[in-house]
Symmetry: C2
Subunit: 250 residues, 2 copies
């Protein structure tokens, strides 16, 4: 099993995952941590372009993306030399280069499996379509919701998975089922030819070599916040009442 790490991380890096470190094939090797930040830069550039900015420095862009400017420059240097010394970056040009590198200049067909509350929200999320992703089918096991329209698409039977994937050449699947069903759904997605999976179910998915899995886990994120929150509270009531020093960097 391989999983795209991020510390992400990362998420932040992806907490669980054996990280392949760098990704290379035709082009140069791009560190996984950099890959995870490229979409952030892309979004920041789009915002700048919408605001009418035509040129920006690494300092400005870094501020908009919430990262260190040196890190930004190093990240961009993996893609090539798209800036001009003494001037900065052309917003539109850099935006296109990053979009091309990520692959969002083309159209990615996506299937969503599991149309509960979350699947419903995902189907309606406008951020997908505007960023190169096109939802081609909504699948659900429950016969009750069959045929119901969500975001302009009918909910279809899970049995149609194979035909949908084949017809639209779907490479990316989204799993939004309950945890109990996730592994089985995942297996069938992989068997049908899907090679990238975005998993919202609170489970660790096992997949064969060559298939990428990324996990989005809402309660884990909250638990990480709770951990830090507890530490803050301990520091507050702790022996020294050390003002604002909720954390000590060791």
């Amino acid at each position: 099993m391989r999983a795209t790490g991020a510390a992400t991380p990362g998420s932040p890096l992806d907490p669980t995952a054996s990280v392949p470190a760098t990704v290379a094939v035709g082009g140069a090797a791009i560190p996984e941590a950099t890959v995870a930040r490229l979409p952030v830069y892309l979004r920041a550039l789009t915002a700048l372009a919408d605001a009418g900015t035509t040129t920006c420095s690494s300092e400005e862009l870094a501020a908009a993306a919430g990262v260190n400017s040196a890190k930004l420059r190093k990240d961009l240097s993996y893609l090539g030399s798209y800036g001009t010394r003494g001037v900065g970056y052309d917003v539109e040009y850099l935006r296109y280069q990053i979009a091309r590198e990520i692959g969002v200049t083309q159209d990615w067909p996506v299937v969503i499996v599991g149309i509960g509350n979350l699947g419903h929200a995902l189907a309606n999320y406008s951020g997908f379509r505007s960023r190169g992703f096109r939802i081609v089918a909504l699948l659900d096991a429950a016969a009750g919701r069959r045929g119901e329209e969500v975001a302009g698409l009918p909910i279809r039977s899970f049995d149609e998975l194979e035909s949908v994937v084949a017809e639209h050449r779907v490479a990316i699947g989204v799993v939004a089922t309950p945890a109990a069903a996730a592994q089985e759904v995942c297996d069938r997605l992989v068997a049908a030819g899907v090679t990238s999976i975005l998993n919202f179910a609170p489970t660790v998915l096992a997949v064969p070599e060559g298939v990428d899995v990324r996990k989005v886990d809402l309660s884990i994120e909250l638990q990480i916040l709770a951990f830090h929150e507890q530490r803050k509270a301990q520091a507050e009531g702790g022996a020294a009442r050390a003002a604002d020093a909720a954390e000590v960097i060791a």
Copy 2:
């Protein structure tokens, strides 16, 4: 601004973020990467307990959590010596210890701001309550939805934010608004006393020192998958057609 990093990752590490590396105060320092994995272990242990398992080895638990066993043991060693050599870990005991370390043995009141499709799904997500988080209020700016009940809670005016936070001593806020409103909502949450924010809006939030922000960004996750998918496709059609070697570790 400080943000809980996570190589992540996870995003995996959180892609954007200056990482504080380790967290310490009263107890020992715990690496940020370890903190991000603790909830995963907790979930795996709960699954084992539900299956009737009373004892497990680091190998078994690591498999259930999808990590290397050496990494698991090292992670657990930061919390203390809760295992028995030659035997393994007592599932229930370890589960409690991790839960206590994370802070989910206590109850965390949470407010959700922005009750659109996503906020709706979050309000209905059962995984929160079962893991020590209690949603105390749903807030939305739109007057139209005022009073409507979602998951047993009425949608209240955003103006009630301050009183709700004060009354329930809320430390954690969830932002599920459109991107344009996110920063303003964030500012008011912080001003009201919230010190941890889970952000679903596709924006970088600026917060003062001492406030933690974690970001969950759906389209970024898809873009990372698209990047790898594109690389796979390039490898496929590339010069050597190098079988399954979609990635070359440099």
